[in-house]
Point group: C2
Chain length 365, copies 2
């Protein structure tokens, strides 16, 4: 069996603590199952800036490009609030997404039965929730040019960002959404603001055409993004797969994550196009939560989102479906057993730290 | 007492039904209190397109510009889904906002005690909620140029929108937010995506400077807009006044409205700058809800958001604070009395139609 190369970018804040638990799981899989993972660590975000003045070094970018998959922790923190825009922690993540052409960001929002009560939403609204947000990740206002601040004189400046989408970008992301819908409840909702944005008009048009040409077996709805946000809060179970652009996807997937009452639990996968020759996709896996600098280093961070991201890696990058199921099953089992990190604690449960939570999941794997 | 000129634009869908209840209230005020309102009706949205091929005519635009205040219902519906972009129903509203320079959109999200249980959020999360979203309304991606679809050939098109903010635009909207915060809990949260948008960097900078120069007595926080959306869902009571740009304001205010469990209840005010000479602000008042074409003409629409928008008009355009309080008190009273339109109905309450609800509010005014 060929060695599976994982490049690990723990990043800042709680990133390294969460990643440490994944490393233990990887070792366990190598030891017990001979899974053949080889890991290497790199720097991204504030720690990379501290080490060499950039949010990710060219050398680490090369390693990310060459790896079978990248596992990413989290970046940022108050320490780097004043660093120049070009080298801010987030720039490392954005460069990874752009240079690896990870255009498809998959963000499942699943409400674990054991946690339904801890959502700020009523239990009946979120219980059993299982939606998948497919977010375009390499286009839109994140990368469009011009993107600049111009000095107009007289104390006036102008800040400019550009939202750009081409037909092929909308086509390929909606293709991913339709394909995934076929493995689920066969229902896609596309969200944009076609009533105020030309890119939204094009988005709507291309999704409609792609549907007609290749996926007419899938149910397709269109919703304005603001109405979509409302409907997510009102009755999220009406959705199966949501496909949307980079910025709306950023907002809507965070809201969807929060509905589940467990943002510390949710993983994501960012995928590129299959290589023409090898059919392999470049891929990066990261938790939906951020670096949480306020609790970093205290041993209380929830490692589940990071571990669940590794489960997505097993599934999507290595086709290790059984192993992925086992990791996800182990997570559900520790929750059923009443173990909780501080962020998801509720009376009557057993509070544990990051390491204990990781150990408990590995023990049940 | 000088005549108070109101220009009424009921629009499409449930707009006219809701506006009819406001007209009754205006007549009652004229008759009983001698309030001296003169009203005139115009067309906006799909009905204006049907009448003269534009989403608002130049003649009606002139009347809106000349009025003391504009009351706006709602626009749009499936009937006009295929009309050209330039004359789609929303274009009428956008032209009103732009030509009247209504840069400050005030959207209170208030949870009426009588309705706390009907939110999809837990009662303790929304009970007593009272936040105010101050949304910039004449800039950003809604109006920035270029805004176009380019044909690239080979079946490829490119959709482009431009997000633009100048210093003065951010300064004046944050000034409005700080002023309003002083009349409330003295706390402003500014939201942007400075980690990916240059306009967000400038936004953050200008809000910070404005605060330092003129409003350092007000508590100011900054939050990334995606995190802000999450926090709105998690624990909305942490906010007092939220100030944000046009697009984020669109998303976030709709989400905030939905939290209250009563989108059919929420009003908004869109204000211009005070005239240098007369000190009067141009103003437009509209419900947060849309045209709801599915229930239009059935007599079941909730007129409360439209009536509450008129209460905001009394308060902000005419300084009729007592009368505004009385309208808002009458709304609370009918809710306490158990009257409910279909959208906010719950078991044990009395279901009423649009007209009965309007009559009941006027009777308690
Ligand atoms: C860290 C930041 C640049 C990023 C984004 O805006 O995409 C984050 O919010 C996310 O959703 O992954
Ligand atoms: C109708 C539409 C153009 C409008 C907007 O996007 O501003 C609406 O959603 C709103 O929030 O007032």
């Amino acid at each position: 069996m060929a060695t599976k190369h994982l490049f690990l970018l723990p990043g800042d804040g709680i990133g390294p603590e969460a990643m440490a638990e994944v490393k233990k799981l990887i070792s366990a899989m190598n030891d017990k199952l001979g899974s053949g993972f080889a890991t290497e660590d790199g720097l991204v975000g504030g720690c990379a800036y501290d080490a060499h003045g950039a949010a990710i070094s060219d050398a680490d970018m090369d390693k990310a490009m060459a790896a079978d998959a990248v596992l990413f922790g989290a970046v940022g923190g108050p320490k780097w609030d004043a660093v120049p825009y070009e080298v801010r922690p987030e720039a490392g993540l954005l460069r990874l997404r752009k240079d690896m052409e990870l255009f498809a960001n998959l963000r499942p929002a699943i409400c674990y039965p054991a946690l339904a009560a801890s959502s700020s939403l009523k239990q009946e609204v979120v219980e059993g929730l299982d939606i998948l947000i497919v977010r375009e990740l390499t286009g839109g206002v994140y990368f469009g040019e011009p993107k600049q601040i111009i000095d107009l004189g007289n104390g006036q400046k102008r800040g400019i960002d550009t939202q750009v989408y081409d037909t092929f970008e909308i086509e390929r992301i909606s293709g991913v959404a339709f394909e995934l819908a076929r493995t689920r409840k066969n229902h896609v909702t596309s969200m944009e603001k076609r009533n105020v944005m030309k890119s939204g008009v094009l988005w709507n048009e291309v999704v409609t055409q792609t549907h007609k040409a290749r996926y007419s077996d899938v149910k397709l709805d269109h919703m304005l993004a603001d109405a979509g946000g409302m409907q997510l809060v009102r009755w999220p179970k009406q959705f199966d797969v949501i496909v949307t652009d980079n910025l709306f996807g950023d907002m809507l997937s965070d809201i969807a994550a929060m509905l589940t009452g467990s943002i510390g639990m949710l993983p994501s996968a960012s995928l590129g196009a299959p290589d023409v020759r090898t059919k392999k996709r470049k891929a990066l896996y990261e938790p939906v939560h951020g670096s949480a600098p306020d609790i970093a280093g205290k041993g209380i961070a929830n490692p589940i989102a990071m571990i669940a991201s590794f489960a997505m890696c097993l599934r999507y990058s290595f086709g290790m479906v059984d192993e992925a199921d086992r990791v996800e099953g182990a997570i559900a089992a520790v929750l059923d057993a009443g173990l909780r990190t501080k962020d998801i604690f509720s009376p009557g449960m057993t509070e544990v730290g990051t390491v204990e939570m990781g150990d408990a999941i590995i023990a049940r794997f």
